[in-house]
Amino acid sequence: MRYRAQIVVSLKDGLLDPQGKAVEGSLPALGWTNVSGVRVGRYVQLDLEADGADAAEDQVRRMAERLLSNPVIETFDVVDISERNGA
């Protein structure tokens, strides 16, 4: 079966997030003074063939560990895996 997986890769908590810092710093000038804790990460979407959601999730996790993230500074989260009929 065909699955679509969505993975979010973000910097480990506690690490400086320059992008988030820059976005947060620019918001007040745009009139938004009520925002905090901005963090910017990477979003990866991919399709894969697998027999069963478990197999799919298992592979996605291994891909995320080896290729999509560097465990030294990043954590990842498989936010969704769902079957895609057809296309």
């Binding site: 320059p18 992008q19 820059a22 976005v23 620019s26 000038a29 745009l30 910017v40």
Partner: protein, 237 residues
């Protein structure tokens, strides 16, 4: 008239080639006027350059944050009134983000920053940088960017091409187009474009780094010469 054309160069936090642009203006016989991102004031200059660099680190998207700087309201008003505005590299990205030019600049196709001398072909005389040049002229200038691949929606691109808004294309030393000459994978080898009125131009290459023969080729000289004469020609709004 003996008065020198006054060319403003805006410094944003993270601008890098602002000094180089001021130096190039002076080298070509103009008066460079430093402008500051936080000031709502263009000091009555005859033309404005948004220089290269990494404004606000180019975090999020290149130019995405700089476009909201106070000075940009003035630049937009200046442009609407017909004032000459030139965006170089990061300046080009800022103009696109601000909607003063169509399209956008995204990550180079090869996913790597590229610093290299290239050739560009002038496509039109209608722009603050090409008034003294004719279409077909080939210039040698450097590029240095990680996100210089020009893209636009199909409608935008059709209009840009249809109405001749393309000012520069990457090419070979003979002016021939070809993928191998395009350092970033830009649509239609586009290196620079203008707005409809023809008073705003943006380009990825760095003409300000190509005026002093002691440090390289001089393909930027005719572009700055054009800018200075157009600036002299028109009464600043």
């Amino acid at each position: 008239m003996s008065e020198l054309p006054r060319i403003g160069v805006v410094t944003f936090p993270g601008s890098l080639d602002d000094r180089d642009a001021l130096r190039a203006v002076a080298f070509m016989g103009g008066e460079g006027v430093p402008l500051w991102h936080a000031d709502r004031d263009l000091a009555g200059v005859d033309a404005v350059i948004l220089p290269g660099g990494f404004s606000y680190g180019d975090y999020l998207r290149c130019g995405a944050i700089a476009r909201f700087a106070p000075v940009m309201e003035e630049v937009a008003a200046f442009a609407d009134a017909g004032g000459l505005v030139v965006g170089i590299c990061n300046g080009f990205q800022i103009l696109c983000e601000a909607g003063l030019l169509p399209g956008a600049l995204v990550r180079n196709r090869q996913l790597r920053f590229v610093c290299r001398w290239v050739h560009i072909r002038v496509e039109t005389s209608i722009s603050p940088l090409t008034g003294d040049l004719v279409a077909g002229e080939v210039l040698r200038v450097p590029v240095k960017h990680g996100e210089g691949r020009f893209v636009a929606t199909d409608e935008q691109l059709a209009r840009i091409e249809g109405e001749g808004f393309v000012v520069f294309r990457y090419c070979g030393d003979d002016g021939a187009l070809g993928d191998e000459h395009t350092p970033n994978g830009a649509s239609n080898a586009i290196a620079g474009i203008r707005n409809e009125a023809g008073n705003v131009v943006g380009l990825m290459p760095h003409p300000e780094h190509a005026v002093d023969p002691d440090v390289g080729a001089t393909g930027g000289q005719p572009l700055f010469a054009s800018l200075l004469s157009s600036a002299l020609a028109r009464v600043a709004p």
